[in-house]
């Protein structure tokens, strides 16, 4: 074994040990270790190694989260497509499969199948083609992969003399489809929301605002919604599902409420 490989392997083993010590055992930790081992055995251009190390490192920063899972999967997909070493490809493939099968991201079965097949193929062009097929398969059969549950954020509220206001603008899209407005401990009589929406090629509803079971539609263009006696949290949600050539977006401009 060359010194370079020894060094890489020691680095990979150290990372694996550190991951298990600091985070304990989990499927994600196992996937990281497989990824690290794959990186140490990677054969290809230096830039490929660099990209895989970078994506793997970033996945550690968002350990066990959906972001970490995607970064690990992306790094593994690259290595499966372009690594010369079959062992390395297999390790990367196992790493991606472990992460995706654990349910961190939904709707990726065609991609897992494509990655496993590609890892076994010798010719690079075929591997790239199979992976591209896998990615297309994901879109064709299950639409865009998504995280289980909604990614939501909470708007910052501020007390005023007459009530509460939510002054910070916020953008909702398919990656962050829900915004919550809260007014803890205060009885609100009336609430006004300023919202604009767009990114669709029709005039149908883009999203809705929900308060205490009541639903208020949000249409493309500017919307001013008046809600009497709202119950909190008030939720603003994109209701459009993913569809090619549409980019549904809701811009929450501001909201205010009076006692």
């Amino acid at each position: 074994m060359s010194d370079t490989y020894k060094g890489k392997l020691i680095l990979a083993l150290s990372i694996a040990a550190a991951v298990f010590i600091s985070h304990g055992f989990s499927i994600f930790a196992l996937a990281v270790c497989l990824y690290a081992a794959g990186t140490s055995l990677l054969r290809g251009q230096q830039s490929l190694t660099l990209i895989t190390i970078f994506l793997g490192g970033l996945s550690l920063l968002s350990f066990s989260s959906t972001l970490g899972s995607v970064l690990l999967t992306a790094g593994a997909a690259l290595a499966v497509a372009f690594s010369v070493s079959a062992v390395s490809r297999s390790l990367f493939c196992l790493s991606a499969a472990a992460v995706l099968l654990s349910g961190a991201i939904e709707g990726t079965a065609p991609f897992i199948a494509a990655a496993i097949t590609a890892a076994l193929v010798k010719k690079e062009k075929w591997r790239a083609l199979i992976l591209a097929g896998g990615l297309s398969g994901v879109i064709l059969f299950s639409g865009l992969p998504s995280a289980p549950g909604y990614n939501s954020s909470v708007s910052e509220e501020a007390l005023t003399e007459n009530g509460v206001m939510w002054p910070q603008p916020s953008e909702l899209n398919l990656a962050k489809p829900r915004l919550l407005l809260q007014a803890p401990g205060i009885d609100i009589r009336e609430m006004t929301l300023r919202i604009s929406a767009g990114g669709v090629r029709d005039t149908c509803q883009v999203g809705h605002v929900i308060s205490a079971g009541r639903t208020f539609p949000v249409y493309p263009g500017e919307n001013i919604l008046l809600i009497q006696e709202p119950e909190f949290p008030v939720s603003i949600l994109i209701s459009r599902k993913w569809k090619p050539f549409t980019h549904p977006v809701i811009h929450f401009v501001s909201a205010e409420a009076s006692f």
């Binding site: 997909a77 497509a81 992969p145 007390l159 803890p184 401990g185």
Partner: protein, 691 residues
């Protein structure tokens, strides 16, 4: 068919870029990624322009990897909001190998800038000092309040009628004025092109093999890319500085250096550091009587210039800003009383998360490592590019310690004058594997800033916009990176030592350099991924608090930079409904220690803090005392500090919380506060530790 094949022969690179442009355009739309009308067009357009300029050449392998990364990441973009940033950056980074390849053509380094120009003109927000420079340009040719009229003065301007910016640089932008913001920015792109032309000529004449590539790296990498095409005088100053150096190296006529030095001061007084460095280089390079004559002439020029400013220009350039006796005293007192602040400011230029180059452009480590080699191989370049950069840097740090980073404008913009010398030293070690690694990581970060220029802007609050955007406020990463605002000496010193070690290993061509860099990155990622147990109060996201307000309310550092004891923002709890509700970290013990660092300002009975966790609760009533003004302030004038939060002594309150399986969070609320808080009364949270 044969004709088509003949045209395509040897142009696989061009075809690849053109096809990739179409692919990216459609992938963006099929996956529904945000900003299809702007970023979703500008990135494919950049690929298309690269294809047109590419000429004959093979497909860059790295571009294939990056295009694949873009395709995979964009498929998953709805999974996490950070992925749209990363995938867009991968999409743009894919053209960088092509731009480096284009550089080998005639005027290649100028052509290589073209694909990025639409992005610079249309994506970067017109903010910071840009409107101020533009409004001066406007005032020079139009008496009315036009496009930029509303930005007529700025905090820190000495007198209402004066702006602290000078008129020479805005006057040069007059040709672009009719075309509004794109026109004014276009002029700055021309200044940058002039600087790059100069730098490439200097490198070519100095015998560099990769002189064209180096020039392209100069604008692709931070700090060059930080204000590329924006309305800041940095690139113009660089053009003048390099023009002086180039002309002197060719002609050995010192008039060029003197002219460049004077023009630099006219552009902005800050660039006087470069002028002094140029004169110092001239003295070092001179022989015989000239060695003594030049300093004498220099002293005369400086005295004459200051007198000219006082008598003829009514002190408009120098005296209005620096004729203030208290300011002069502050400068003179710096070495005696503010040495730590000055040292931290110097260290911050490298390691600070907000303004340090290490995080935006790790290639500077290679640039620093190459300096000894530059000195050995090309002493002339080392002196002519290095000395002005060094003097400029020292004056910058000494003069504006704590405020030198010039935020909230793009980080690294003040360090543009060090770019030529670092590029010159990089040129000697660019082909090494470990150096290439640093350069490519830096290019990746630059690509993020080109696609999301808003993330370049930090607000001197201890957080970095890019880190916050990608990993969110709940990430532990921010605890492990150094910040001059939230100073943690072990972390700060640790990164300085690590940076120095890396530079040393790179300079010695050690094979461990690569492993050290990779290990440091991975260890940081590992620690940054741990569960968050320490919260800076001002970072606590709205999902973990009820109401509460920020002190001071404004995001920018304008008021905080005049504080004596801290520059951090604080979270104010001044209303009975205000509360902080933090999730309890996983713990194996039966209790948890909660430490709150805070200030408390009373207006009658002292306010208190109540901590509750399930049925358990505890409280403490305590108020902070006003601190004495620092010694250096009292030397200048007799000063009693006001009873304001920033002047209060910080308190530390500790609570031991019994852990119950059914409780998931801990609640911190203020006690003894009124529903209509008066003045500054309330609890000001700084930091909360859960151990």
């Amino acid at each position: 068919m044969i004709r088509l094949r003949m045209i395509a022969e040897g142009r696989s690179g061009m075809i690849f870029h053109a096809v990739s442009s179409v692919l990216i355009f459609f992938i963006w739309r099929i996956t529904g990624m945000p900003s299809p009308g702007l970023l979703g067009r500008l990135v494919p357009l950049a690929w298309l322009i690269t294809a047109i300029l590419y000429g004959k050449g093979r497909i860059p392998r790295v571009s294939i990897y990056l295009l694949t990364a873009f395709a995979v990441l964009s498929l998953f973009w709805t999974v996490d909001p950070a992925l749209e940033v990363i995938s867009a950056a991968c999409g743009l980074l894919g053209i960088f190998p092509g731009l480096l390849a284009i550089s080998s053509r005639k005027y290649g380094m100028l052509l290589a800038m073209l694909p990025l120009i639409p992005m610079i003109l249309l994506l970067s927000p017109f903010t910071g000092d840009e409107p101020h420079h533009a409004s001066i340009t406007e005032s020079l040719i139009s008496s009315g309040t036009g496009r930029f009229g509303e930005y007529s003065s700025q905090i820190g301007d000495p007198v209402g009628d004066f702006t602290h910016h000078q008129s020479f640089y805005p006057a040069l932008m007059i040709p672009g004025y009719p075309f509004s913001v794109p026109g004014i920015r276009g002029m700055n792109i021309l200044f940058a092109m002039a600087a790059l032309l100069m730098i490439s000529k200097i490198f070519r004449d100095s015998g560099y093999d990769d002189w064209r590539k180096l020039a392209v790296l100069g604008f692709l990498l931070m700090p060059g890319s930080s204000i590329l095409g924006l309305v800041y005088p940095g690139w113009l100053a660089l053009a003048v500085f390099l023009c002086g150096v180039y002309a002197f190296i060719r002609t050995k006529n010192s008039v060029w250096v003197i002219a460049a030095a004077i023009v630099l001061v006219l552009i902005k007084f800050r660039f006087a550091g470069i002028s002094i460095g140029l004169f110092a280089a001239l003295v070092i390079e001179s022989k015989g009587r000239r060695k003594y004559l030049i300093p004498a002439v220099l002293a005369c020029i400086v005295v004459a210039g200051i007198l000219f400013d006082l008598v003829i220009l009514n002190g408009r350039i120098f005296w209005v800003r620096y004729g203030n006796i208290e300011f002069i005293k502050t400068i003179l007192l710096q070495p005696m009383y503010k040495t730590p602040e000055v040292l931290i400011a110097a260290g911050s230029s490298l390691v600070d998360i907000e303004s340090g180059l290490l995080w935006k452009a790790p290639w500077v480590l290679a640039g620093l490592a190459g300096l000894p080699l530059l000195k050995r191989r090309n002493r002339e370049l080392f002196i002519w590019l290095g000395l002005p950069a060094l003097v400029y840097f020292l004056i910058l740090v000494f003069w504006m310690a704590g405020d030198w980073s010039g935020m909230p404008t793009p980080a690294g913009r003040m360090l543009l004058p060090v770019l030529p010398v670092l590029l010159a030293s990089l040129g000697y070690i660019l082909r090494r594997r470990d150096v290439r690694m640093l350069v490519w990581v830096s290019l990746g970060i630059s690509a993020v800033f080109f696609t999301q220029p808003i993330l370049r802007l930090n607000y001197a609050d201890g957080t970095d916009a890019l880190v916050s955007r990608i990993f969110g406020p709940s990430s532990s990463l921010i605890e492990w990176v150094p910040s001059a605002i939230r100073l943690d000496i072990p972390v700060f010193a640790g990164w300085i030592i690590l940076a120095a070690l890396t530079v040393m290993l790179l300079a010695r061509k050690s094979r461990y350099a690569e492993y050290t860099i990779a290990s440091a990155f991975l260890v940081l990622c590992l620690f940054g991924g741990l569960q968050k147990r320490s919260w800076e109060a001002e970072d606590i996201p709205s999902e973990y608090r009820n109401y509460c307000t920020m002190y001071p309310a404004e995001t920018g550092p304008d008021s905080r930079k005049f504080w004596f004891f801290t520059r951090e923002r604080m979270l104010r709890l001044s209303h009975p409904e205000d509360a902080v509700i933090l999730p309890l970290p996983e713990t194996t013990g039966d209790s948890l220690k909660l430490t709150i660092f805070h200030r408390s300002l009373q207006s009658g009975s002292p306010p208190g803090i109540e901590v509750s966790c399930g049925r358990w609760h505890d409280s403490v009533y305590i108020s902070s005392e006003v601190m004495q003004a620092p010694v250096w302030v009292t030397i200048m004038k007799d000063m009693q500090l006001q009873s304001r939060p920033e002047n209060l002594r910080e308190l530390r309150s500790e609570f031991v919380i019994p852990i119950n399986d059914f409780v998931e969070n801990v609640r911190i609320t203020p006690l003894g506060v009124e529903s209509s808080p008066r003045g500054f009364t309330g609890i000001y949270l700084d930091r909360i530790l859960l151990r």
